[in-house]
């Protein structure tokens, strides 16, 4: 069946889309030179030339030993039994043991060297991929899903390393066996050889055909399994909605439908297997039948020795085994090449964002950030920023405000050079960031976003993530400033507590504070943050706001702002709309101007202020009494200062 017409009516439209993309990709890949990929794959064996040579030597010895064994049986019959020579029999028995010993030793070498090659090439490919993936720019990661990269690093790598380390050598083995056996058989009887090879040839054709068919069927099973997993995932993730709307029965029907498709696909696979498996066996038996029938008559007629007849049969069986696997090896080779192409596609991606050659290292920054007519678009998308210009002076707080998709995130992504602008320049302290060493740039920029990603290492190592040489005191100081020390000290293992599945589950607010400590420890000159704190309780929110304030001290700070307190303290507010700065200035000025800022203020910020004012109004006297003692009093005081 042509891949273009694969009908998967059962599967979800998203998957259908993915499949279409895959098919398109495959067509493109096919046009590329398969030989080139194959050569490149084999080149990965270069560092292991000696090992490979040893492996080939082992294969040669093992194959030779395998070829000798049937002729020993022949000798036992023809020279021993027929000629009535007991000494010959004993000698042959000893030879069998000797050859078996040699074969066992070299077989060990062959297996072990092949497995090692598989493991080593796998190791090399995984390392190369990992390194590459870590260096690929954000724009690449925006378009590729984690699952895809994972399957490159796992499935594709194991498919191709198995082929490179073993499949290629196996093919050599089959070729040698085939040539050796045909030469040996022809010497005995050309006609009998041709007759005996007919079923073997059929077997070769059958396995190639079958391997192709079964791999296609497995693809359908994979799809069905993927659909079932997706259905299950959705049901489990939405468990509360299902319960809330009492739709359990409906969900059962939905699941059963996906399940039935998997069932059908699997039954088809196994049934196909059920035809293939006995057929291969029967073909091997057929070759025995033909040899017995024709060879037997030749022995009766005296044109063939009895031993030769037995050896004939043994040789054909010897040949049948690897031939039976030939189809799968060919298939595996195809998969390896396809996997190789996908892997090289990643390895060959240009690293658009990298330090230029001999790039100067940035000195310690003062923190002046300049956007000079910056235009920017995400790959293949319309412009996210249009000729944006502004300058942030050292230690200023710059608040970015605007509707979703207005370009706030794009601006902050350009400062650490996660992307390059399509036009214009981004400068720090007057250096165009494209011309300087990337590491010296990024190590002076700290980033804290609303959802903080931590790694499954200890809390200590998470805080020291950007500065592995930090001392214990520095780590604790950072945690204290980030208002994280208290809850960390509350864990039984303190700073050694592991984060993630194998350790503690941290709440959103705790994660955020560890991320703040992580940024603080780097002591960055430029800071990028998001002041929103969602899904945390009031107490935590207060702590986070305190930690953020601490973090902002004495650095140039860019804040994606959601809070009135932030915009009020900002030295420069940039109001963004559709990738353009539509208003800029300080809070009071902008409020005066009206426009988008006023609109946002009215809808999102104003009630915060109103409420605050209401509170103050209500109990000014009380606050005065409590001031200095009670926390809320102090806070209200600060509000008064700001207002």
């Amino acid at each position: 069946m042509a891949p273009e017409s694969l009908p998967y009516p059962s599967i979800s439209p998203q998957l259908q889309f993915v499949l279409k993309c895959k098919t398109a990709l495959r067509t493109i890949q096919r046009n590329e030179s398969t030989m080139k990929t194959l050569l490149r794959l084999l080149q990965s064996l270069n560092p292991y030339r000696l090992q490979l040579a040893a492996l080939v030597a082992c294969v040669l010895v093992v194959t030779a030993a395998a070829l000798v064994t049937p002729s020993l049986i022949r000798a036992a019959i023809d020279d021993g039994l027929v000629k009535n020579d007991a000494n010959a029999i004993s000698a042959i028995a000893l030879t069998i043991i000797a050859i078996a010993l040699v074969r066992a030793l070299f077989n060990f070498g062959r297996r072990y060297l092949a497995e090692r090659l598989i493991n080593q090439t796998g190791y090399d490919f995984r390392n190369a991929l990992y390194d590459k993936i870590q260096h690929l720019p954000f724009s690449y990661h925006d378009q590729v899903q984690t699952g895809q990269l994972m399957s490159r690093c796992t499935e594709d790598v194991s498919a191709l390393s198995r082929f490179v380390g073993q499949g290629a050598v196996e093919m050599l083995n089959v070729a040698l066996l085939l040539i050796g056996i045909i030469i040996l058989l022809f010497q005995q009887s050309a006609t009998l050889t041709l007759i005996g090879l007919i079923p073997i040839a059929l077997l070769a054709i059958a396995t190639v055909f079958f391997a192709k068919k079964i791999s296609h069927l497995f693809l359908i099973v994979d799809q069905a399994l993927g659909d079932l997993s997706a259905a299950l995932q959705e049901n489990l993730t939405g468990a509360q909605v299902v319960r809330a709307f009492a739709r359990e029965e409906y969900e059962k029907v939905k699941f059963a439908n996906a399940h039935q498709k998997l069932y059908d696909a699997r039954v088809t696979v196994v049934s196909t297997w059920g035809v293939f498996m006995p057929t291969t066996n029967v073909l091997i038996m057929l070759s025995t039948i033909l040899i017995l029938w024709f060879g037997g008559q030749m022995v009766i007629a005296g044109t063939l020795s009895l031993g030769a007849l037995v050896a004939f049969n043994a040789y054909l069986i010897l040949l049948a085994m690897p031939i039976g696997e030939l189809g799968f090896i060919v298939n595996a080779a195809g998969e390896a090449v396809a996997g190789g192409k996908r892997i090289f596609e990643i390895l060959d991606v240009q690293e658009e964002i990298a330090s230029p050659k001999n790039a100067p290292t940035l000195p310690a920054l003062t923190g002046r950030v300049t956007f000079d007519a910056v235009t920017f678009a995400y790959r293949g998308d319309r412009n996210a920023l249009h000729a944006v210009s502004f300058e942030a002076q050292p230690n200023q707080v710059v608040a970015l405000i605007g509707p979703t998709g207005s370009g706030k995130t794009s601006i902050v992504n350009l400062i650490p050079r996660f992307y390059d602008p399509t036009a214009g320049r981004v400068c720090v302290d007057g250096f165009d960031i494209k011309t300087v060493d990337l590491k010296s740039l990024r190590s002076q920029i700290g980033i804290v976003l609303q959802s903080s990603l931590l790694f499954s290492v200890s809390i200590r190592d998470n805080i020291a993530y950007g500065r592995m040489d930090a001392t214990e005191e520095e780590i604790i100081a950072a945690a204290k400033a980030a208002r994280a020390h208290d809850f960390i000290a509350g864990f039984a293992n303190g700073y050694d507590t592991m984060v993630g599945e194998r350790g503690v589950t941290l709440s959103g607010g705790q994660k955020q504070r560890i991320a703040i400590a992580r940024a603080l420890l780097m002591n960055p000159r430029v800071l990028i943050l998001d002041d929103s704190t969602s899904s945390v309780d009031t107490q935590t929110e207060y702590l986070i706001q305190q930690a953020l304030s601490e973090l902002m001290q004495g650095r140039t700070t860019f804040v994606i702002a959601q809070r009135l307190s932030t915009v009020k303290r900002a030295d420069l507010i940039l109001v963004l709309d559709d990738g353009r700065i539509v208003q800029r200035g300080r809070h009071a000025e902008l409020l005066e101007q009206g426009g988008l800022y006023k609109e946002i203020y009215d809808l999102q910020l104003k009630d915060q202020e109103q409420f605050a004012r209401e509170m103050m109004f209500l109990d000014e006297s009380e606050i005065a009494e409590e001031s200095g003692g009670n926390g809320s009093g102090r806070r209200a005081e600060r509000v008064m200062d700001g207002a």
Partner: protein, 623 residues
């Protein structure tokens, strides 16, 4: 101190790579309890399994007869007896046909049977998951559940469809060959079996070593995958902190290096075993050639056995070759069995998880309700933790009132509202609707009259129409979306202000929303979930207000929609928006599982208590 810190060096060996995951894959190779449970799933298919075994008997007989028929043919040829050759070849053809038919039928029957057993098991798992209460879901990660239902069941499938039959076949094979060899010449057979102890020793050593190395490899693979996954997901953080080189070193040396070492070790074990087994097989062959050859030459005689011919020698050699491959197979299959038993144990553990909230035997249908909700001295704690989550909750909500719940995370707000939907049963006191204790009615009849809007509005990957009509009853058919009155869906969407953006989508209401509603923005998803709740027209609504920020336009629409949604029904709102709180008929301040304060906004401000404290802090700081 400075001296001490100066010598402190980064320790790349111990830090920055997640610890290798614990090994939870290997269990016992045979677990009678798991086996017994599995057998109950096989029971309905007894007849099929017997038929498959019978068919295997047919094919294996054909297979085992082969070498014997070759002997007959060779003896015939040696004696220049063309007749014997015709007979032998004829029977050989017959055995080939028997083998084809037997194998085909067996595989065919087992394909259907095995898949049916797996189908039953997975269906039971899913049905059980649908019945389990939400408390269970809060303890179990979705990923783990998926792994139970997909991976562990697949391991069992592997076992039932292949391993089980293969083991039976291997045993049958071994026994058949032993019988055939004994029939040919029992003395030589016994002598040949002298190598068996060697074989068993080799297998036993291999089995132990393989078990260890298999475990190490599995752990190493898990570690590699975990690290890869984490660093791909977190690649932006990695780059922000310029950790690329360092991470690469850790990966190459520790994580990937560990994998390399573990797989090489496993390779060594397998590479020694298989050639060793071959060698032992060759020893047996040499014995046969030597003793058999001498017997055929009448150098000595095996008393009381048929004449030892060249054919006998060949048949013996063929049987020996076949004899060792099932033994090798069985040794290899050992690992599969361990994985199966461990998987089976986890599956049955899940199936045995008790369902906490169940309809009482006498439960009746809840009639059409007005929406009066009463908490009578309600207390609650989770089944696995005696710490009270709620205590002494007394509350009466009149039909049509809006109740706003405020308080810190973990104070018990969401638990309290979950009791109204009976996602949990109270451990003390009673929750009543219109005076009826919720434990006396069926969950289904209760929830049909309740609406729930979650903080993170979960959508299913169908069309917008299907999502809005998700709560409509009664219908278990998949066609419910089409059955629903089109205008009702549209009206609900209009009422919450979602109609406009829906019509702007390419396919309108038939637009597919993608997994989890991926194509829609957070605000849009929220509006769809409002429409979904509105269309179900519940008498009681439970709403957890979302806190994530949306843009100005959407915020305006959402506020209007909320108002519309809350109108004329009893509503419990876990509130974050000031506007929602101030508008509520009653505000409950929940603190440490108790109702600390209750009243309207104005009343509570007057009181200067907890509420006042909470909101000066929250909103004053923001301003």
């Amino acid at each position: 101190m400075t001296l001490a810190t100066a010598t402190q060096k980064p320790k790349p060996q111990t830090i920055s790579a997640p610890a290798p995951p614990h090994d939870d894959i290997i269990g016992k190779a045979y677990d009678p309890q798991v086996t017994r449970r599995l057998l109950t799933y096989l029971k309905p298919y007894r007849a099929n399994i017997l038929a498959a075994l019978a068919m295997m008997g047919v094919s294996m007989t054909g297979y085992i007869a082969g070498p014997y028929l070759i002997k007959v043919a060779l003896d015939g040829v040696a004696a220049r007896d063309a007749n014997a050759l015709v007979w032998a070849v004829g029977l050989y053809i017959a055995s080939a046909i028997a083998m084809w038919i037997g194998t085909y039928a067996r595989v065919r029957i087992m394909a259907v049977t095995g898949q049916s057993i797996i189908f039953d098991l997975r269906r039971d798992l899913f049905d059980h998951l649908q019945a389990l209460s939400l408390g269970f879901y809060s303890r179990y990660a979705v990923g783990r559940l998926i792994s139970r239902v997909i991976n562990d069941v697949s391991v069992l499938r592997e076992m039932i469809t292949w391993a089980f039959i293969a083991v039976v076949r291997d045993v049958y094979d071994i026994l058949g060959i032993i019988v055939a060899m004994f029939l040919l010449n029992w003395q030589l057979s016994l002598i040949t079996f002298l190598v068996l102890p060697l074989m068993f020793i080799a297998t036993e050593i291999f089995r132990r070593r393989a078990r260890q190395s298999y475990r190490k490899v599995r752990a190493a693979v898990g570690w590699v995958n975990a690290v890869l996954n984490e660093n791909i997901v977190g690649v932006r953080v990695v780059q922000s902190f310029s950790r690329e080189e360092y991470n690469h070193r850790v990966f190459a040396e520790n994580v990937n290096g560990n994998h390399l070492r573990a797989t090489n070790e496993a390779a060594l074990v397998a590479s020694v075993f298989f050639p060793a087994v071959d060698f032992i097989g060759s020893l047996a062959l040499a014995l046969v050639v030597w003793l058999g050859g001498l017997a055929a030459l009448n150098v000595f005689q095996f008393p009381g056995t048929p004449e030892f011919t060249a054919g006998t020698l060949v048949a013996f050699a063929l049987y020996i070759e076949r004899f060792f491959s099932p033994i090798r197979d069985l040794a290899q299959r050992y690992n599969t069995f361990q994985a199966t038993m461990a998987g089976g144990e986890r599956i049955f553990e899940l199936l045995d998880t008790p369902i906490e909230v169940q309809d009482a035997p006498h439960a009746r249908e809840l009639p059409q309700i007005r929406g009066d909700v009463e908490f009578e001295n309600v207390g609650f704690h989770y089944s696995d933790d005696p710490t009270p989550v709620l205590e002494e909750i007394n509350l009466h909500v009149c039909a049509g009132q809006t109740i706003a719940l405020v308080g810190e995370t973990g104070a018990g707000k969401s638990t309290l509202v979950k009791l109204v939907s009976r996602f949990y049963d109270p451990t003390a006191g009673a929750v009543k609707i219109d005076g009826v204790d919720l434990r006396d009615v069926t969950q289904n009849s209760l929830r049909r009259q309740m609406g729930v809007v979650l903080q993170d509005p979960f959508l299913f990957s169908g069309t917008i129409r299907e999502n809005i009509s998700y709560g409509l009853h009664p219908s278990t058919s998949l066609r419910s979306a089409q059955d629903v009155n089109e205008s009702a869906i549209e009206a609900a969407a209009r009422a919450v202000g979602a109609h406009d953006f829906i019509m702007q989508l390419e396919k309108g209401y038939d637009t597919l929303v993608g997994e989890g509603g991926a194509i829609l923005s957070g605000g849009q998803r929220q509006l769809i979930s409002f429409a979904r709740a509105l269309l179900a027209d519940p008498r009681i609504l439970v709403l957890d207000e979302a806190t994530s920020s949306v843009d100005t336009q959407t915020e305006r629409v959402i506020q209007a929609a909320l108002e519309r949604l809350l109108k004329d029904r009893t509503s419990f709102v876990i509130a974050h928006r000031l506007s929602t709180i101030t508008r509520a008929d009653k505000i409950l301040v929940i603190e440490k599982g108790r109702i600390a304060e209750a009243g309207t906004h104005a009343e509570l401000l007057e009181e200067r208590g907890q509420y006042f404290e909470l909101y000066t802090m929250a909103f004053a700081e923001r301003a």
